[in-house]
Symmetry: D2
Subunit: 367 residues, 4 copies
Amino acid sequence: MKRLRYAMVGGATGSFIGPIHRMAIRMDDLADLVAGCFSRNARTNAVSAAKFRIDPERVYPDWQSLVAAERGRIDFLVVATTNETHYAIARAALRAGINVFCEKPLSLTLREANELGRLAAKNGCVLGIPFTYTGYPMVKLARDLVRRGELGHVDKVVMEYVQGSFRKPDRRTSWKTDPKIAGPSCVVADIGVHAFTMIEYVTGLEVQSLLADLSSFANTAGLDDDASILMRLSEGAKAALVTSKVATGEENGVRLRVYGDKASVFWDQEAPNYLSVKYPMRPEMVYKRKAPYVGDVSARSAAASRFPAGHHEGFVEALANIYDEFAAAVLSGKTRDFPGAREGVRSMRFVDAALKSAKAGCRWIRL
Amino acid sequence: MKRLRYAMVGGATGSFIGPIHRMAIRMDDLADLVAGCFSRNARTNAVSAAKFRIDPERVYPDWQSLVAAERGRIDFLVVATTNETHYAIARAALRAGINVFCEKPLSLTLREANELGRLAAKNGCVLGIPFTYTGYPMVKLARDLVRRGELGHVDKVVMEYVQGSFRKPDRRTSWKTDPKIAGPSCVVADIGVHAFTMIEYVTGLEVQSLLADLSSFANTAGLDDDASILMRLSEGAKAALVTSKVATGEENGVRLRVYGDKASVFWDQEAPNYLSVKYPMRPEMVYKRKAPYVGDVSARSAAASRFPAGHHEGFVEALANIYDEFAAAVLSGKTRDFPGAREGVRSMRFVDAALKSAKAGCRWIRL
Amino acid sequence: MKRLRYAMVGGATGSFIGPIHRMAIRMDDLADLVAGCFSRNARTNAVSAAKFRIDPERVYPDWQSLVAAERGRIDFLVVATTNETHYAIARAALRAGINVFCEKPLSLTLREANELGRLAAKNGCVLGIPFTYTGYPMVKLARDLVRRGELGHVDKVVMEYVQGSFRKPDRRTSWKTDPKIAGPSCVVADIGVHAFTMIEYVTGLEVQSLLADLSSFANTAGLDDDASILMRLSEGAKAALVTSKVATGEENGVRLRVYGDKASVFWDQEAPNYLSVKYPMRPEMVYKRKAPYVGDVSARSAAASRFPAGHHEGFVEALANIYDEFAAAVLSGKTRDFPGAREGVRSMRFVDAALKSAKAGCRWIRL
Amino acid sequence: MKRLRYAMVGGATGSFIGPIHRMAIRMDDLADLVAGCFSRNARTNAVSAAKFRIDPERVYPDWQSLVAAERGRIDFLVVATTNETHYAIARAALRAGINVFCEKPLSLTLREANELGRLAAKNGCVLGIPFTYTGYPMVKLARDLVRRGELGHVDKVVMEYVQGSFRKPDRRTSWKTDPKIAGPSCVVADIGVHAFTMIEYVTGLEVQSLLADLSSFANTAGLDDDASILMRLSEGAKAALVTSKVATGEENGVRLRVYGDKASVFWDQEAPNYLSVKYPMRPEMVYKRKAPYVGDVSARSAAASRFPAGHHEGFVEALANIYDEFAAAVLSGKTRDFPGAREGVRSMRFVDAALKSAKAGCRWIRL
């Protein structure tokens, strides 16, 4: 297998998300980090680059010079900056024919997301987005159970993605509540998009319209920090989603239930190696990641597992699974099982509709 | 303590809810069953009465004759019939000055509920309703934690009451989906009212308006079998409720979370002897029913517990707690801690608003 | 069905175990309490009797006069006194031909237990003992799964019954640590016997020998408050048991796992409405009390359940199940599914062997 | 930080444990794999080496030539072969002054382990052993809670490490049941040593004697596949351990409870991001990995965590934590927090004593 090379914008030493991307890429030894602009701060940039053993010639003071200089020399660019820069960086890279793996949200507005989606298609670039929860093996199993008809017709989805981070003293003033950096939405754009993407990924259905009630309970400059969103999906299904940053005491509560007319599935990100399947007239069944019977139902799930059942995997493996598929797409030019341009655009459509609905007093808005 | 005597309408041998009422009343040896009309079927009525050792003179062919004959001879009447008869029976009993413990929903319409509420007040009768989940000791602890300010300002409530009963072959044609018997609502009137009452009981807030999306996924003659309801409460709080009879594989999933700005509580009816309290900067705390520290925080919770921590109580004890308070009110004439006329009327207001909102395409409706 | 009448020794108002017996008997309206000697304290006895509405003529100053006077007038006698009196009371009652339901441990010594067992057989009396955990519906399901061969050959049992009560300030000086009242063993005789009985009940095997390591970690006058016990069962199976009163922070941790060569079962008394079954090559299956599929496997379990799945039962229902079977035996004279003379004697054999083994430095002792 | 280089013996593509070591080392980018003898099969060796991009000059046909040629060119050697070769390889490497990270069990006999321990000390080599469970952040928190006196005096440890692997059709004939490869013990040497090491690590106490009941339930050539072991620790504490390979349906059940006279802790490897602490008179407290309050109690635990609370870590992070400390010791020459020669020797002492005790009919054996 050809050795891949990548560059990174953002993600300096000490940042939250940068190290996670690097670890995920290293997990299966996918690619070497060969260039970067890790920080706008020159010293932080230099220190980080040294730590990552980057050739000083390939350390750049800004992303513009990185894109210009690395065009044709890297296989993909990881964008791990704050929200307001995603669009410009991704656009420049895609225009230069560089594959992009960009943090969510893909952009601040739906218009920008649409443009990036078109640009990627036009230039034949692979665009990846870390909707990490779709990378978990048991989420993949859930998707395959739905596809195989085990649940029958999907009627209702109940989902939540709740955090209590805005109740902690040190988080309240984060950039995520500054509209200039975060964009017009906080909780919906930051974590609601994960939930939305999971719903469509697992059910294979499309959200067609939504109704959103947004709130600002903490001091978040008017940006939403809590949302209750009702959705109507294709084939007559419905969904209810609660997402919040003020769910006091919650760490990262991503919980998905899908009710079909024959069975239902439940997955909880805080116990991610299990999937519960419930039936009307049979005992509840608890599937365990990588157990022999998982592979019988979902080759996708088994292939996305590294360690035997009982030896738990977590967040970084899920992201590594997304990178594995992204890298395979980069190498093969073929569609693979990872969230990309389509998911990036649809998730921004979701954010856009939620903002419109809330403004209109909780009216139904078509996506 | 004076020995109480009660009569029952409905609840023959073999019925679902009748035995539960009798067991709950026997638990603390509150009252003797002395009269009844247990079934419209004469034979079933007679067989049941014999089994309950009722004096044959006090077994009646219809509730009308029971009310007429037992006036002044019983301390209260338990109404355990199907929905469409609650109003008429309760009205007759209250007019006769008889205290009434009536199954939910109190009536088929809000107008009827209002009338019963007024009648009870006018005639000085005690009216009790088995919103059983408010009788659990850990729900009472949750209420007292909120009252003591442990949660700070309550911002958001996330609640669900989900069952999968309509996915079972034998339940689909039950009387609960016959509008002539069940009334104009199925899931909202049958179990949604429990959820609504719990929210107001635990938070001490009032639901002021709601927006409801009702569905009929199973073959339920057009009655709602699934609902997603958003609510606005007093003091700026909000709530999201999912209630369903088509939540495949769920048994009786009553789960309540209340998020305040200082802490949150979580209670799950399927693990009812625990209450989880979460904080932003402290470990999660799991309270156990009747443990010594519970009484320090909530005398109400400790008093409502019979067995030591670790020796689990369940559904029948919760109902017995409601009966204990109801009986104390019957004896003392004073207000006690149980769901009564107010809760009965408010819960019908909730059903009424939900039906109106759904009809209007999910508009906000004031309660 | 003939109405049963019973008397009680011990169990005054305010005692721990007395009210539980009375509630359990009332649950299915099995029998009327008609006589008693509730306390050695005359005033407490009188107050209790009045509260229970006992005819003053049938309230006795001591158990000797009760047995003498009530012979032939009651159907059974409940013995709810402290350990050191069980033997004498039960012996007198059995000699008088009275059926006895006696708290555990049945006696202070194996010799006494043997005598009571022989006496019950000789006089045709029914003897019942509240090994309450064998009364839980999901324990009965476990037993039937083993019997049906679902687990294959049972190889290993891992069991614990752990409490932290002796770590609480107010419990350390209880009578349970006074050898004159409690007898020669504390934790083994008080709760170890429950565990032992469950193992034999669920597996259908007999413990043939054991090796016990007893400890006194808290200030318990030299009586055992913690034990680790290894056992060898019939058919080559083995068991490991930990039982403790100094398991700090535990409330009532009764957890049983049985490993067969085809499957295993797990039951936890603190989540008693579930039974987990695990297989080598299939997902874990979680059975829920009274769900339709339970009855297909265990009529015994379904019959021992009162409320639908999801409406939880607990400790008092388990004891009521034992009383139901005991009462049926009293009425029919036939063997039924409840712990009786055999279990009483075997559990004392277990206590006796454990004390001997510990004294001999953890030698294997045959039962 | 100086860049480390390492070689590996065993661990070819497709092996179970090899990839885990490599991933763990890559996680924090600790060292480069520069040489190896990955398989005795020449073709497998070559294919693996190519996949790992090893300079062909540094791929060796046997470990002897690797040790001879790489002396002084690598910073450490990872031994990921089957048990019977550990001793010889480790001995050769230590004699050559090479630091060694060796799979458990360190050797087949206690004598060999003692020799390796002495050799490491004499030659100033660092010896590391993947007792991976001691690398989990919440296990480190448990250790620090004990050290800080939060539990008071430790009285009793209850531990289990149970797997059902020998019940699966394809595992029964694995090399782990071949005494020539596995050595004289199967379950005790393979996973019992993990449990033993955790007990000493968390409590800070030493096991002084033990009593072991070993069994062979599956067809394991007479080697133990199930064990119940009682232990006596320093300071009067006791422990009970169950470890098994025939615990049908269990995946990797590592569960540790430590009961002190003030509090107890519970950790379950299948929910590894949580630690439960229970008190006699306070609610149970559930600590969550990397939550702010964890660092207040255990800097060690916080430092061993990569991702925020709620973003789960698992098995590979735990092993990476051990490698981090091992690498720091290699670089600094100082003692660090990882299992090394001492733990390797003591764990073999444990295996040796368990075998002796079982042979002697469960006699107490001093370690």
